[in-house]
């Protein structure tokens, strides 16, 4: 019986009931989390046996912008096999194998291609009521296979990459990286693993690496356009800025904190203090070193970030991060003015991807507006219903049109003008005003420098912007610029 002095048991029971209720509320919340919020993510997880069960199911196709099939299922002897009619579309399209995994767009859009991703919400609901749970979708890319094949042919047996895009929309028209691989051999059931092992063997020039989006290279003089954007954008310089000491420094070298910046090709500029356009035409290191110092480390990095540096570029394929400096130094990341000066003309610890440099060219081409790069136009069901459509999107307004005009003029001069022609003239497209900039990136040591070219055409109303790099190819003007010009010219003929 009760002994009076303790509170009645009933009150304790009431509170106990609340505690029990709270426990179950937590369980219910957990249920909601895993069965509601995370349900899609769990189903799409590659380790999910449900997904494994669907791997024997049909897979959607990958197409180029004109409908050319780049990847599809075919049935060979009763067995479903993935086929890639155009190996030149590698590594952008990638491969998909049930045993070896996936890469490229096959990987990024795996959920859509295998049919696990939902389509419209109504379709999702109906799908819950239907027996089949997978509806594979087709992925339509922005690539144009004709241009892509052209780019691969131009690269030939060299190690390098080409990125070509439409500067007004950001659509990537060609993404080539050589040497590449044959995806049909990767997914072949018998010989695939051996072929893959061979590809990954060291000393094999890494054909699996997508140099266009993930190769990091010293840019050399093509980086001067970044410095230029920073200088003009921040107001440190204008098109008319000159440095009176510059002609003298061409002979003696421009000394920055004990380091001598040199140039060796001003025999014909003489004692003229170059303005911005002229300096671009002859690719004057000393001028741009001055520009870099005048702009300052912080502003240089700031403007570079607006172009996409120092972060992975959001794209349909994985991208590496381009950098202006490896960082850690006291001068806004730079070690000292010497590094800043070197970075200003694309040496030092600068490292860029071809995609990044193509975006720089595209920005200048599009009047200072940087459009978001895209590789996929639409995702649609096989009967044509569009599930997802990519609209061109402004990523950054880097420069105003007025500011950009002088950059455009400079790059046009670099290819077309009397002073520019000896350097980048090989990029000129017959009958079309072409703009561009070459780069020859010294690597230190005794190896050949990287050959770079970035450009766009026609200069007044550009329809294509490119970045070309040949690894250790030599002189930019001799090796990379002709490829860039050829490619742009071919595009203008293909798509007038």
């Amino acid at each position: 019986m009760n002994r009076g002095s303790a509170p009645p048991v009933r009150h304790g029971l009431a509170r106990l009931a609340v505690a029990v209720l709270l426990c179950y509320a937590a369980v219910a919340l957990g249920l909601g989390y895993w069965q509601g919020l995370q349900a899609q993510a769990l189903t799409n997880d590659p380790g999910n046996p449900l997904v494994a069960a669907l791997r024997d199911g049909p897979r959607g196709r990958i197409l180029d912008a004109r409908g050319t099939v780049l990847a599809q299922d075919v049935t060979v002897g009763g067995v479903r096999v993935r086929r890639y009619p155009h190996p030149a579309a590698e590594p952008a399209v990638g491969y998909w194998s049930p045993t070896l995994g996936s890469s490229g767009l096959e990987h990024t859009y795996d959920a859509d291609l295998s049919g696990l991703a939902g389509t419209s919400p109504v379709d999702e609901l109906l799908r819950k009521f239907g027996a089949s749970t997978a509806s594979p979708l087709d992925v339509v890319t922005s690539l144009d296979m004709r241009l892509q094949a052209d780019a691969v042919k131009l690269l030939g047996k060299q190690k390098g990459a080409i990125v070509a895009l439409d500067p007004t929309t950001g659509r990537v028209l060609a993404l080539a990286s050589t040497p590449s691989f044959d995806p049909d051999r990767v997914v072949a059931p018998g010989t695939g693993p051996a072929y893959m092992a061979g590809l990954s063997a060291p000393g094999n020039a890494s054909p699996l690496l997508d140099r266009a989006t993930q190769g990091l290279y010293t840019p050399g003089s093509v980086f001067k356009m970044v410095t230029a954007i920073a200088g003009i954008g921040s107001g440190a310089i204008t098109g008319a800025t000159t440095y009176p000491d510059q002609p003298g420094e061409e002979r003696s070298g421009f000394v920055v904190d004990g380091f001598k910046v040199v140039d060796g090709h001003h025999d014909f500029t003489g004692d003229t203090a170059l303005d911005f356009v002229q300096a671009t035409e002859v690719s004057c290191n000393i001028y741009f070193a001055h520009v870099g110092l005048a702009t300052g480390a912080g502003a240089l990095r700031d403007w570079a970030r607006r172009l996409g540096f120092e972060a992975a570029i959001p794209f349909d394929l994985p991208t590496a991060v381009s950098q202006v400096t490896s960082g850690g130094g006291p001068l806004d990341g730079f070690v000292d003015d010497v590094e800043l000066a070197n970075a200003a003309y694309g040496q030092g610890t600068t490292a860029v991807t071809p995609l990044q440099m193509a975006l720089v060219a595209a920005t200048i081409a599009d009047g200072g507006t940087l459009m978001r790069p895209t590789l996929v136009d639409t995702v649609r069901s096989p009967d044509g219903t569009v599930v997802q459509h990519t609209e061109p999107q402004v990523w950054q307004q880097v420069l105003s049109g007025a500011q950009d005009a002088v950059l455009r003029a400079a790059m046009t001069g670099a290819v077309e003008s009397a002073w520019g022609r000896p350097f980048a003239g090989s990029a000129a497209i017959p009958g079309v005003q072409t703009a561009g900039k070459t780069g020859t990136a010294q690597l230190g040591g005794s190896g050949e420098p990287h050959a770079w070219f970035i450009g766009f055409a026609p200069a007044a109303a550009p329809r294509i912007a490119v970045a070309v790099i040949i690894e250790q190819g030599g002189h930019g003007g001799e090796v990379a610029a002709p490829l860039g010009g050829q490619l742009m010219g071919d595009w203008l003929r293909l798509a007038p």
């Binding site: 002095s5 303790a6 029990v20 179950y24 369980v27 219910a28 249920l31 895993w34 995370q38 380790g47």
Partner: protein
């Protein structure tokens, strides 16, 4: 004219129980048809004899309740029947070869028939206890004897038990095997209820101040802690962490209800934290459990496999589930989720019935909680109240613990989902809890009667009790 009846037995209608059982039967039969249709590919009722036997058993026990006329709770039994029915449906859907038992002349029994046998035994236990248990003196007055019996049982398991997966839980006597930890939980509750009822006023009123906490006076705290500590130590040695956690939670719950001193609970939680840290540092299996709880995907192919697969099952279920019979495929009789019939049965049910079904399951356990705590609140005295509360906690906290474990809210422990998971010991233990709860819920039973003149039979029995009683007094 009602025919003259035995003392205390009057047939009385139990309308609510009848309605609920009818609904439960309708639901279960629909579920069976759903399962059979999905498996057969066309409208089919399959072979429903298992479900029919189950429902007939439930009906028979219901009729017995009506005939004996005790005014016991009318909701607990249908809720249990529904839970057991869902279990039967699920076991019928799993590969039958998962568990086999040679039942001699009855042939070889597989998963679903075995579960049916245990379910019927469990329901019979509920029926038996609900009808026959009329007074609680055998529980109330012999708490130390019960405690001693419990400890003995533990020691027996420790010495003679079978080791399965590194955990010694099973005691085998001839052809029968059982997990005494189920009984132990009930024994612990009986002891605590008795002890706390007797001493709660003193425990609540006087205290020992240690820093900011109030401790109960040592003389009263020690026997409790000793009992709990022995149980815990042996359980931990057996590595049955789930039971240890459950013991502890029930202990704290009852302590709070009896004394309503939050400082005691705080102290208890502190001890638990200390104990957990100690266990984590010392026991590698605990470390593994915590690691796969925090990030099972990092070891998705190794020790985290079960948890990851369980989560996939939840994800696949979504809101409405995949439908009975359409869960993750089980090729070659191996399960897509390990231990789908025991540890992960909640995940399996959630996969096939969706969040909607899983929440209904939660609802059923909440119903059991509500009824149990209501029975406790209306208990004639403290002992009854505490006993009912303790039995309820054993059922309800165990369910919450394994559900939370399956959902990766807490580390996975080995406790089973009462009435739904496969396992004879679990079903019997849960059945005893519900049976006792129903017995305690009889609205027509008064508080323990004052002593009266004893018949001869009673006097003999009293002498036997005297021996046990002397033991009780000695302990005290």
């Amino acid at each position: 004219m009602i025919r003259p009846s035995l003392a205390g037995i009057h047939p009385r209608p139990r309308g609510r129980e009848t309605t609920l059982l009818a609904l439960a039967a309708a639901a279960l039969l629909t579920g069976w048809v759903s399962l059979a249709t999905t498996q057969a590919g066309r409208l089919s009722a399959g072979d429903p004899h298992l479900l029919v036997i189950y429902l007939v058993a439930a009906a028979v026990i219901h009729v017995l309740f009506v005939v004996t006329g005790r005014r016991t709770d009318q909701v607990l039994f249908p809720a249990v029947v529904l839970l057991g029915g869902i279990s039967l449906l699920f076991m019928a859907r799993l590969p039958p070869s998962l568990v086999t038992q040679d039942a001699g002349p009855a042939g070889i029994l597989t998963l679903a028939p075995l579960q049916l046998v245990w379910l019927v035994l469990s329901l019979s236990t509920i029926g038996g206890l609900a009808i026959l248990v009329r007074n609680d003196t055998w529980l109330r007055n012999y708490k130390y004897s019960w405690a001693a019996a419990g400890v003995t049982l533990l020691v027996l398991v420790f010495l003679f038990g079978d080791e399965v997966n590194g955990v010694r839980l099973t005691l085998r006597v001839g052809p029968l095997a059982g997990q005494p930890s189920e009984l132990l939980k009930i024994i612990l509750v009986v002891f605590l209820a008795g002890y706390l009822a007797e001493n709660r006023a003193l425990l609540a009123a006087t205290s020992l101040r240690v820093g900011p906490l109030d401790l109960p006076p040592l003389a009263y705290l020690l026997p409790m802690l000793a009992m709990w500590g022995i149980a815990l130590a042996v359980v931990v040695v057996q590595r049955d962490l789930g039971a240890a956690l459950l013991f502890f939670a029930v202990f704290l719950g009852l302590l709070y209800v009896a004394t309503q001193r939050t400082s005691f609970v705080a102290l208890g939680l502190l001890l638990a934290a200390v104990g957990s840290v100690f266990l984590y540092a010392v026991e590698p299996t605990v470390q593994v459990r915590v690691a796969i709880w925090l990030d099972p995907f990092a070891q998705a192919l190794g020790s985290g496999f079960q948890i990851v697969r369980g989560l996939y099952a939840f994800g696949r279920g979504g809101l409405l589930g995949t439908g009975l019979g359409a869960g993750l495929p089980s090729p070659d009789g191996t399960l897509a989720v390990p231990a789908l019939a025991t540890d992960y049965v909640f995940a399996g049910v959630a996969e096939e019935l969706g969040a909607a079904g899983a929440i209904a399951l939660i609802g059923l356990y909440l119903v059991i909680a509500e009824r149990g705590l209501r029975i406790a609140a209306r208990g004639a005295d403290d002992f009854r109240a505490l006993l009912a509360a303790g039995l309820t906690l054993v059922l309800v906290l165990q369910a919450a613990l394994i559900m939370a474990g399956d959902l990766k809210l807490v580390p996975l422990t080995g406790v089973t989902l009462p009435f739904v998971a496969y396992g004879g010991s679990s079903l019997l233990g849960s059945g005893i809890c519900v049976g006792l709860l129903m017995a305690l819920s009889d609205a027509g039973v008064e508080a323990p009667a004052p002593p009266q003149a004893l018949t001869r039979g009673e006097r003999l029995r009293a002498r036997g009790r005297g021996v046990a009683g002397r033991f009780e007094r000695a302990v005290r």
